[in-house]
Symmetry: C2
Subunit: 334 residues, 2 copies
């Protein structure tokens, strides 16, 4: 047995995984062969997404706890399934890391990933490992859903209501605290949590798809303004957001007293903060009455409307309309 | 449109890809949404594999032509489909690269990848891009095959004949030429080719599965000795190889005259050289007569037999038996 086989066995022990076989829930071949093999249930569409999670880009190995890196790398990919309305099934893990990260760091990383796997009901079905100077994770998730229920980015129509789950900007606020070295203050730990361990909205996404309530959906991994612009571009529409309706994170007064800082402004955080993994979805007017004020404890808020005019705008209570510039996260502009 | 969207559009133009839709061959949603969506054909099993291809580990950006990096990163993943007997369908690409590689280098990389995609009949269905100090590629391939025909590593039985496609060690010989700076000599270019542009054995793998000829299969990405040991471990068996039957690469006499070098020994190359992506498969005795001497011009050679005794051994013409140590590529032992 070589080093790689040993490492794969260690990963497969730490994370919910199945070697495949009759009781594998459709998984005929799992970890340990050239590829995973599964038998889809009849009448299902399959949903497939792949995401990188790279040291120095998506996390800082010396700042972020390894549990968070393991957790977020999987949640980030699983959130793409939520955004289509799919139910998670299996995932593949490509893990590259240096020798000094193969001990305790890897154990903690796997604890975080196992937690995300249980939460998302994802089972490890394969992948590979490599030695590499920095940690580089790539994760592929596979989900399933009843045929023809998938929610894309491209079917929003003028007049549709725009909804958002949760409170945007909380993950960014957590990151700003870390950037300022304030994340170890026990009183602020709860504020850092949404950045380190965001909750994917899988149940909500699947529920919206199953009941055909939404016309389009995207997750807010890049920030509300940027992901709204993605959705509008794909749908060839525009949007107007209602300024007073947009939920905002609570920024502690002690933090705000440290001086004016646009990056800590609650509205700025809500509009442009990334990595919330909330769901942004559109609902045709006649079905808007069926959207409850919250789903499993998570608030669902109508924050605006899709427009024919292909611009992103914000409407004040006073009736003033301003253009909204997407200022969220661009994975390639750094 | 942000940087990342522009880059994704450029990739999708360069590589066979489909945005999804009615004519997408089962692909309902392709590049550009949160995830790819496809509708499997009834009565098919799905085969899924994911492979990293990292600068400094799997290729050297300053030595290997970008066309080769793009080509090999996809062929490496597609070869896992060949090894199960699956027909390739779609792939996802996670591409991380530094700014200085986004110009001509990326164009050439995509030319190589497009060539591999056409050869493997793989269509790009999604992925992501990131800025990163080094090139890091991760590819997920999805294949399909008739239900219950999949060929795993774990079903070889004592008495089965061991077959190998092609000539092992050719890719390693090409790498050795590059290591010695001899790859630019025009007479030796054909010898470097199997290292830069290996041929995946997709048609052979699918044919063996379709006709239920093989009992188990693996591709020789890590080298014959190492991959045979993987297959035997998974199947809980051993093997004896017939020394005189193992095909060997031709090493030019001029190269051999440069002095004795075990790494350039034809038998050593054949047994331990990596990255050939040939197929190593086992055939139950009664079906061995149905294996032709070649398939589509590629030689198929019986090189040994599976044994109950869980050891890897080599049998000389003289009748002498020696132990075979797996000495191929271990992605984690460097």
């Amino acid at each position: 047995v070589n080093e790689e086989s040993r490492l794969i066995a260690r990963i497969a022990r730490a994370i919910p995984s199945r070697p495949g076989g009759p009781r594998g829930g459709g998984l005929l071949v799992g970890v340990g062969d050239d590829a995973a093999v599964f038998r889809p249930r009849p009448g299902r569409d399959l949903v497939l997404s792949s995401d990188s999670f790279l040291e120095g880009v998506h996390f800082l190995a010396d700042v972020h706890p390894p549990e968070s890196a393991g957790y977020k790398s999987l949640v980030r990919a699983a959130s793409d399934l939520a955004a289509m309305g799919a139910e998670p099934r299996f995932f593949l893990l490509n893990l590259a890391l240096p020798a000094r990260r193969t001990g305790k760091w890897l154990d903690a990383f796997l604890v975080g990933m196992a937690r995300a796997a249980r939460r998302c009901r994802l089972v490890l079905a394969g992948g590979d490992t490599s030695r590499h100077p920095t940690v580089a994770v790539s994760i592929t998730v596979l989900g399933e859903m009843k045929a023809s229920l998938v929610l894309t980015r491209s079917a929003a129509r003028p007049g549709d209501r725009i909804y958002l789950s949760g409170v945007p900007g909380r993950a960014q606020l957590g990151l700003e605290l870390i950037r300022r070295g304030l994340h170890r203050k026990s009183e602020w730990k709860p504020l850092v949590r949404p950045h380190l361990f965001p909750e994917p909205r899988l149940a909500l996404g699947a529920w919206l798809a199953r009941h055909r309530l939404a016309s389009s959906m995207i997750d807010t991994s890049d920030g509300l303004s940027t992901d709204l612009s993605h959705l509008c571009e794909s749908s060839r529409v525009g949007a107007v957001l209602w300024r007073d309706k947009i939920p905002r994170p609570q920024v502690p007064t002690e933090l705000r007293r440290r001086g004016p800082n646009p990056e800590l402004n609650p509205e700025f955080l809500a509009l442009h903060g990334g990595e919330d993994y909330e769901l942004l979805f559109t609902v045709p007017r006649p079905r808007a009455g069926k959207i409850p004020p919250q789903f499993q404890g998570v608030p669902l808020t109508a924050i605006g409307e899709i427009t024919r005019r292909r611009r992103l705008r914000i409407l004040d209570l006073s009736g003033r309309v301003t253009l909204l510039q997407p200022r969220g996260w661009d994975h390639f502009e750094k």
